[in-house]
Homo-oligomer: 270 residues x 2
């Protein structure tokens, strides 16, 4: 079935650590890129999405916000007139059903509302330079990090419904764990906890997250000067691009004694 | 350990269906509520979060956006002067390091940037009334829905890194499956796919999602007039509140022949 081009998936060269042995392997990643949704020539929203069904995404987004009432409100959905990458335009029959700017009907979340390359540029400019990779993490520290976080997820134990971020010293000492329904909030809380205690930036520390590693999480880690992100799930393409650009360690599928290294394998000791 | 008040967790009465038997049980849910982050008196962002460490969340959010450089930039973090619920205020020493309004450094995602009660009011106003519950779903249709979606997640098979939403007729016929790195995008795409085909609103259909059921997903389902949401994971408190308010079916932990009913159990047949 895996024939032809699939915009949802991209190939990557990674390292796999299993039973103490590291090998280079080819892997496939979920593609993550920003999409700007425009309506009648005006930018409306930017979302981090997997490419492939941009017209559907734009139409469904407008319907889910109550901005259109059905297909009769749409004249056309497709690329913008200037064919800018990662944009989609909806042309409506007679405007949106309400003016989204009149209402507090959207909420903001963190990330960079520009194209993928622009987002990487933004982080490069704003984030302090990482120090050279003198800071080696022992593989056993990384392999055991998810279970250390898991053992302190008291609200997850009761509900099964919360993401978590733990922050570790490179020695493996777990400093703080925070839980939240939003994965980005869990990381904000953990970083904020140390910051309010007077520790920021967090050079030499790494974050462990309970789920997947999105661009947004790696971006937050980068701006906090963390040395890397260790995830129980896989990363997206844009998360890997950013980690490589910033010289950060990015590990995923850290489970049962094995892990994948997507970026910064020189930071992982032997 | 589960003694005293924990702001992350709330109790709820639900129904559990197991081995064909339905019982009322007490359950615990992850709390989800909106938080407005204000800086020096001005609203900056609203995020759907689990209460409990709002000061940390605000501080970490600002650091992750490059808006502050550390605790030295903060004079105080705490409740707003008007003690409005679900707001937190950061008072800075000399303003933010850059003006977030000058830049496209945030992106928009869908949801209602007001307090929990307000969010429920918004959906009530915008969503067309649900028709009376003449539409019964057979339990076996709901129980088998997640595996039907899973069997069509071709990009997940290759990456392990994508959420999915499937839309079903109440008979159990699966109409469309869409995958995305963002759970809200997967639902937007699935709804948008039918909408662009001329089908909207989607009365009588239900959605099945691969992960947890957030407020945002139930809100989108409600605005599309779906009869309910079926999730492999658990819902948040606000998702349950909204589903009950709207008379929608909300099932979670639909796995291995059993499920929990959090709202609208009258829509689930015998």
């Amino acid at each position: 079935m895996a024939t032809g081009f699939d915009p949802h998936v991209a190939a990557a060269s990674i390292e796999k650590l299993k039973d103490g042995v590291r090998n280079s392997v080819r892997d496939e990643l979920a593609v993550e890129e920003p999409l700007e949704i425009r309506v009648d020539g005006e930018p409306l929203a930017v979302t981090m999405r997997t490419p492939g069904e941009d017209e559907e995404l734009a139409a469904g987004f407008l319907a889910g916000e109550g901005l259109i009432g059905g297909s009769a409100d749409i004249v056309e959905v497709g690329p913008t007139r200037d064919f800018a990458a990662n944009t989609v335009e909806v042309r409506t029959k007679s405007g949106l059903r309400r003016n989204p700017k009149d209402e507090r009907s959207f909420y903001l979340t963190s990330s960079c509302g520009v194209c993928g390359k622009g987002a990487l540029e933004f982080v490069k400019q704003k984030a302090p330079p990482l120090r050279p990779a003198t800071c080696n993490l022992r593989p056993e520290v990384v392999l055991s990090a998810p279970s250390a976080v898991r053992s302190r997820q008291s609200a997850f134990d009761r509900t099964g419904g919360l993401h978590a971020t733990g922050l570790f010293e490179s020695s493996g000492e777990l400093l703080v764990v925070r839980e939240d329904v939003g994965r980005h909030n869990a990381m904000d809380k953990a970083i904020g906890s140390l910051l309010l205690g007077g520790r920021f930036p967090l050079a030499g520390m790494f974050a462990t997250v309970s789920g997947r590693a999105s661009f947004e999480l790696v971006q937050k880690a980068s701006l906090a000067s963390l040395i890397g992100v260790v995830a129980v799930g896989p990363p997206s393409t844009l998360a890997v691009d950013l980690a490589r650009e910033r010289g950060m360690l990015l590990c995923g599928f850290v489970r049962g004694g094995s892990l994948n290294v997507y970026a910064g394998s020189e930071l992982l000791g032997n």
